[in-house]
Amino acid sequence: MKPLCYIFILLIIGYYGNAQTKISGTIKDNKNKPVPSASIVLKDTYDGATSDSSGIFSFTTAEKGKLTLTVTAVGYRPAEQIIDITGNDITINIAVKEEVSELKAVIISAGSFEAGDKKRVTVLNSIDVATTAGANADITGALKTLPGAQQVGESEGLFVRGGTAAETKTFIDGTLVNNFFYSSVPGIAQRGRFSPFLFKGTVFSTGGYSALYGQALSSALILESIDLPEQGSSNIGVSVLSLNAGHQHLAKNKKSSWGISYSYANLWLAFKAIKQRQNYSRVPEYHEGDANFRIKTSETGIIKYYGYFSANRLGIITPSIDTAGYYDAFNIKNFNMYHNLSYRESLGNGWKLTTGISYSTNKDNIEGQLQDGAEKEVNIPPLAYKNFELESPGQYFNAKTVIDKRLMGISVIRFGGEYNYSNDKYHYTLYNGQKFSSSIVENLKAVFAETDIYITNDLAAKIGGRFEHSSLLNKSNIAPRVSLAYKTGKQSQASLAYGIFYQNPEKKYLPSPDVLTFSKATHYIAQYQKVTSKTTFRSEVFYKKYNDLIKTDMINAAQQVAANNNGYGDAKGLEIFWRDKKTFKNIDYWVSYSYLDTKRDYTNFPYAIQPNFAAKHTASLVMKKFVTKWKTGFNMSYTYASGRPYYNIMYDGSNYKFTDMGKAKDYNNVSFSLNYLPGLFKKDSKTFTVLVLTVNNIFGINQLYGYNYSYDGSRKTPILPPSRTFIFLGAFISFGIDRTEDAINSNL
């Protein structure tokens, strides 16, 4: 009977022990604002509550004694407090500290457009690039529809905020790319060499960029290559311009992949169909191949290799402006090879390593001739300089290492070094067989450090500096960079950026007999942006000051050579960008507008003027609509630029002088493209086909880029696009990969 008695007593004690204690209070943050939806738990019990919209909570418990009360809430650091439950009701207020997190924190964004597959602030991705009408699947073509870049059609490159194309540098996986574009051809802008589909992330910085990058006065285009493909595949493409085939193999364990591709392009057919302004003595022809491998070395580590070669040539004959009845012939042969090897790995404990090397060679063989009607070379005394041969082989090696260390919260410190080697040789043969050779070797070394400091979720700063030494100039520089970002609302933020940027004199003005130094630009940028899941609004004002720009002298009656660093200039402006995927059903569009006020005195300019590559007003409208019923995407773009100035500058033996100046008419272009995906939604089909039709300048609007002048300045001819309208038609087929999911997801 005794045990039963005990049980009875135990039960009674248990019963009385069940007396309930009420625990209540308020959860607030360090700014004394209530924290809703916080979870309050009496540790190791079932008891607890969730705070309401005023941060108030209340619950009862049967527990007794000293227990820990824990508070957790999204965006806050967990808090704990020990309470002593004696039976009396407890009122307790607990403060939680805000946690700085990537999801909530402000983004340091002044000056840059980030594009890619990141969670936030996606402006353009590779599909956007491929489907921007008028861009012709060229990365820089699509970037020209963003504010800050000029619509310069007569030469390649990104002319950003009053800067020349040479003031924009491109980086792939951290390292500098030396010949991003195909070699220049007079009057015809060349494309970038690399396909947009090689890259998963693009940052187009129109100023104020990070201390990790240097040697660009205006802009950095930072491209991040793709990692392992999701599936292996083979593909072939046929178009009016080219044939290509490729294969990507993904290992069964999905830890490594390799791929190769080859393409041959010949513009004969296209030029037969669409009359070109230039007369081609040799139709452009390109052989290109690339290879890649990617190996996952661990959960967080990856080695990537990308290699590329291109051999191409073309020849143009145009009626000579200098002397009636004669022709200017231009022939170019180019061979380019590019290798990039990169490695990134998390080293644990918040350390991260990113390193890469690239090696490339580039060789141009250019031949200029003045010809008679029978394509025979002729020598006419004042124009003898027109007959020449130039062989310019170059070798380039770049290496860069960046080490990241995560500090408190999401703050990061980053440091590393960069080495750029270049060796450019020029072998010049004059009309009389005289030969000149020169060689420009540069060893540029840089070290840099920067830190991203998140003071709160609403306020962040990026502070960095870069030190460079150039063996070519035998000079060093130190460039500070600072940006601040402040969150003004849930989706809006304001940013400021300041930085000094240095760049070597352009090699085309070297070697110089004079002592030169770096050219310098100082950027001041203020930005406001508001980003929702379907819309992006961004506006920026900037002021850029140029110092120590290169001034040139004339030598050998035709060659401009750097003389000193007495040039200067400035640029100021306002830019607006709006992208909207919401307002019109199934229509995605963006609008950009740039106002630019710039003047500079550099190279042979007699005094500071608005340069011929800078338009005051530039605007773009890009629209995309996918009609699922027709399995077709329709893309349209309109670009506008107010007329750019043109000048003829001549050397009178001692000084440069203007002999003519004016303003070209406004530039307008409407382009259209169409992608038809006939295999779409045929689930499980083994091939996937995309048919592409693009029409550039669909209305055949007259476009004028400027003028070419005769050697004596007496005559001028307009610089016009190679053809008024250009049409492209192609079919691209992938095997062994069902891309229907991609198409669905990217068009939903």
Binding site: P3, Y6, I7, L10, P36, S37, S39, V41, K43, D44, T45, Y46, D47, G48, A49, T50, D52, S53, V74, G75, L103, D117, K119, T122, N125, K200, E230, S533, K534, K581, D588, T628, K629, K631, L680, F681, K682, K683, T740, E741, D742, I744, N745, S746, N747, L748
Partner: protein, 209 residues
């Protein structure tokens, strides 16, 4: 006497263990009953926290964490103003805790829904990130339990809600739904174990009539 005493001690221990388990079952049942009635986001978050408290206290039960995740997933479907990323991160954290105790197909279903909710914020920009996550959760779940009716339901409703021209459509979904219903009918869930989905399948099938 010693024997009796130790027996007595043992019975006390057993008694309290049974009480513990009974406390767990009661608390779970009470919360699950609330799950059927709670409609607001605040209520669902409160319920999720209640499940999480049980999970934290029990330490070797995966179901409380599973339901802590599932309640948030329900909020993710119903509340369009909810911050889907923050919600999904919480769901995935609960899933990870549940998996550490018992890695199974039911948790994969919740992970699949969480990633889907994140993707739907902006499908065009996000499918490359979340598409593979959605697919791998489904793949893993079907590997662990090929006949899990909830995974089949998620698959079928995906097809059901995808427009015909995108390779989905009601016609295509019908046989899948019918098969899913069979799986639901064959299912015999243990007490407290997940059993949701059957009604939705029946409603969807009813829409064909």
């Amino acid at each position: 006497m010693k024997k009796i005493l130790s027996l007595f001690a043992a019975s006390i221990i057993m008694f309290s263990a049974a009480a513990q388990s009974e406390k767990y079952v009661k608390a779970m049942e009470a919360n699950l009953a609330k799950f059927d009635t709670v409609k607001t986001t605040a209520g669902l978050i409160d319920l999720s926290n209640a499940f999480a408290r049980i999970g934290d206290a029990e330490k070797d039960q995966w179901l409380p964490y599973y339901y802590a995740a599932l309640t948030l997933s329900t909020a993710g479907w119903s509340d369009q103003s909810l911050d889907k990323d923050a919600n999904a991160e919480k769901i995935k954290a609960f899933c990870a805790k549940a998996e550490a105790i018992n890695d199974n197909a039911e948790i994969c279903a919740v992970r699949n829904m969480a990633a889907t909710q994140q993707m739907l914020v902006d499908p065009q920009a996000r499918w490359q990130t979340y598409g593979p996550e959605v697919a791998s959760a489904m793949e893993k779940g079907l590997k662990l339990d090929p006949d899990n009716p909830r995974l089949h339901f998620l698959q079928a409703s995906g097809v059901f809600n995808t427009p015909e021209q995108f390779g989905g459509g009601k016609d295509k979904a019908k046989p899948m739904l019918e098969k899913t219903l069979e799986l639901f009918n064959a299912e015999n869930p243990k007490p407290l174990y997940p059993h949701w989905g059957k009604k939705q399948v029946e409603d969807m099938l009813a829409s064909y009539k």
